[in-house]
């Protein structure tokens, strides 16, 4: 991995493999994902349904049921300590403590029978040993910090009395209660309207500026990536197929899948005939292809791609793609990628 190593990563995930045993066989949901994020930075993991982006972070957090799930390899180093195999570090569970997490659907992630303030306070009681009264007072402060009006009164309400945007703010308050060094945000704005999405994204960016936490943002939305991310990892069929700084990945997409995603999305300048869907569907992860996972849909596929699994190849400093087009002996004047390969 040619990650930009200006700062030591807070979270460093190496070669993660996750499988699920089902009646239909074993699904290889994550097939060797590596990514890292530094303090104060945002890494976006972007991909479509079933690409393994959520499973990656959920497995790190110990949130996938095992069985049927199984982590078959890899490590996730939080400040250098592997948390894939143990969650208790220095006598305390890292989850909800040193790593906070928010989810796509805040309504089903919160306990409907518990007051919002008590749910936030519980985190502080468990991890920090706060008294009930102290934890409740802190919960109100946190609700104020995430800009919930009348926080005192709101903390006494149940989730059903909150709108979707308010619930996501409450989730964020809970996730940052223990001042985590990493916040994992799994599709945090997918269920929200665009104006509320803007509010939540602004809030996350502001909290990050204040407390310097690293954010891992899981999303399918390239526009959200453009708005929030410093670094991007593009995931397809259980693998990270491209990774680099956000400008590099958007300006010089190096993997045909990234190119395809960009072409399938209208932007300000897209003319009427300008949308180019990616035809076909992702491969069956019960039996992943021997070669490149994108081979069947790729407009630039070569003979090597069918049988040989591509390695992560450097494209530029801090920018790499899992694609044979970037191999030294690949045809250098390939029509689509030629102006993009800089050597």
């Amino acid at each position: 991995m040619t990650a930009d190593a200006k700062a030591a990563p807070v979270l460093d995930v190496r070669d993660l493999h996750v499988e699920f045993t089902t009646h239909g066989g074993v699904v290889k949901a994550v097939r060797g994902a590596s990514f890292s994020v530094a303090a104060g930075k945002t890494l976006a993991i972007v991909g479509e349904s079933g690409c393994g982006k959520s499973v990656s972070v959920q497995s790190i957090m110990g949130l996938i049921p095992m069985p049927p799930g199984r982590i078959t390899g890899g490590a996730a180093l939080l400040h250098g300590t592997d948390i894939v195999r143990r969650k208790i570090v220095d006598g305390d569970d890292v989850r909800g403590n040193r790593i906070g997490m928010i989810f796509q659907d805040p309504m089903s992630s919160l306990n409907p029978t518990m007051k919002i303030g008590d749910q936030i306070a519980e985190t502080l009681e468990v991890h920090r040993g706060y008294s009930r009264a102290k934890a409740r007072a802190r919960a109100v402060e946190l609700l104020t910090q995430v800009q919930i009006p009348e926080a005192e009164e709101r903390s006494q309400q149940y989730p059903f009395a909150f709108s979707g945007g308010m619930l996501q703010r409450a989730m964020i308050a809970m996730a940052i209660a223990c001042e985590p060094s990493v916040l994992i945000a799994d599709e945090p704005t997918t269920a929200l309207d665009v104006t509320i999405q803007a509010q939540i994204l602004d809030l996350l960016a502001e909290l990050q500026r204040k407390n310097g936490m690293a954010i891992v943002l899981i999303t399918h939305d390239l526009a959200v990536v453009a708005r929030m991310a410093d670094e991007v990892a593009v995931m397809y069929a259980g693998e990270i197929v491209e990774r680099g700084a956000v400008e590099d990945v958007f300006d010089q997409p190096a993997h045909p899948y990234t190119l395809g995603l960009r072409g399938a999305l209208p932007s300000r300048s897209t003319e009427r005939a300008g949308l180019n869907p990616i035809e076909g569907a992702p491969p069956d992860l019960f039996a992943p292809p021997t070669g490149c996972g994108y081979f069947a849909r790729c407009a630039h596929a070569m003979r090597v791609c069918e049988q040989h699994h591509p390695q992560q190849l450097p494209v530029a400093a801090g920018h790499a793609a899992r694609c044979w087009l970037h191999a030294p002996d690949a045809p250098r004047t390939h029509p689509a990628i030629q102006h993009r390969v800089r050597r």
Partner: protein, 329 residues
């Protein structure tokens, strides 16, 4: 330009009991020309889906009128009305999972409209289903399978075939791509575009994805709390919004370009869409509007053409003359 579909002050209220009323759609007048695509955008709770459903007769109208090719349609539909109008107006739904009956085969689902319309034998219907499966990019043998055997994108293709097999002239597409992945969204948008061109369809495209609506639509209409606040050509509304709500809505919409996103000034509007229960007089956006004036809380602005003589209409006192305001009180 004569309209194929026209709503005149279309209104849909839902009674909640205890004298409370949800003003889901309040006096929306919209004319859609033959072969036009009108995009309807707005946040959840703006009434855009209720408008679409009321338009095709799935809800009884509280007030107002829907005209199709000049003919006024009944204010509530009975079975005979559905049979008569279904061939003209159809709907494609957001959720390709819950909008297909899981106990019917795909062939039964697609052919049911023809079966109910009557006049065609089973062999004819089967042939039409096979034809439509091919036209939406599915295989003939898919007719005997059940919805759960298909992906979201394939199910949406089934929903499209079901809607179009009756050869409607007008189709309401209610968030047809919201539940789909990015690469599949583009496949479905392209399919809809191709079918629209080959069949000469007129579409109302309801969605919250502003970039996609601009891309597919000729005109774009913006709805807030049951009312239209702005309508104009898609590019005008998207690139040169006039109503303060449209400005905020478009300004909140991120673009897949990190350079412009970095320079973006935060335009996030504070607060959230208020409840549509028992709405009083005045502009509905007044409580959140950064440009609110005294008059906005008293007088409901009407959707009026801009003074520039273009096709744009905006419901905002920033653009109405003082005389017009005093005249309407």
């Amino acid at each position: 330009m004569s309209a194929l579909v026209e709503t005149i002050e279309l209104t849909k209220h839902f009674a909640m009991g205890r004298g409370r009323t949800v003003h889901a759609v309040d006096g929306v007048s919209l004319a859609i020309a033959e072969r036009e695509v009108v995009g309807l955008v707005g946040e959840s709770g703006s009434g855009k889906s209720t408008f679409g459903r009321t338009l095709v007769g799935l809800h009884a109208k509280t007030a107002g009128e829907v005209r199709f090719a000049g003919e006024a349609l009944p204010s509530s539909y009975g079975p005979a009305d559905f049979r008569r109008h279904a061939a003209n107006m159809q709907m494609i739904f957001q959720d390709p999972y819950s909008s297909l009956n899981p106990r019917m085969t795909v062939g039964e689902i697609i052919g049911e409209g023809l079966r109910l319309a009557g006049g065609q034998g089973r062999a004819q219907i089967r042939a039409a289903v096979a034809d439509w499966l091919a036209r939406v990019g599915l295989e003939p043998q898919h007719a005997s399978r059940y919805p759960h055997e298909f992906s979201g994108g394939q199910r949406q293709r089934v929903g499209i075939a079901r809607a179009l097999i009756l050869k409607p002239r007008f189709v309401v597409c209610d968030e047809p791509i919201s539940a789909l992945d990015v690469s599949v969204q583009a496949q479905i948008v392209r399919l809809l575009g191709d079918l629209k061109a080959s069949l000469g369809l007129t579409l109302l495209f309801i969605a919250h994805d502003l970039s996609m609506v601009r891309y597919v639509s000729d005109r774009m209409a913006v709805m807030y709390l049951g009312s239209l606040v702005e309508i104009g050509t898609a590019d005008d509304v998207y690139f040169r919004p006039k109503h303060p709500y449209t400005e905020i809505l478009i300004g909140s919409n991120p673009e897949p370009n990190p350079r412009t996103e970095r320079r973006r000034v935060a335009v996030a509007v504070t607060g959230e869409i208020p409840s549509p229960v028992n709405i009083g007089a005045g502009c509905r956006f007044a409580s959140r509007c950064p440009k609110v004036m005294e008059v906005c809380r008293r007088v409901t602005p009407r959707l009026e053409p801009l003074a520039d003589g273009g096709a744009r209409r905006v419901a905002c006192h920033l653009y109405t003359s003082p005389a017009a305001i005093s005249g309407s009180t």
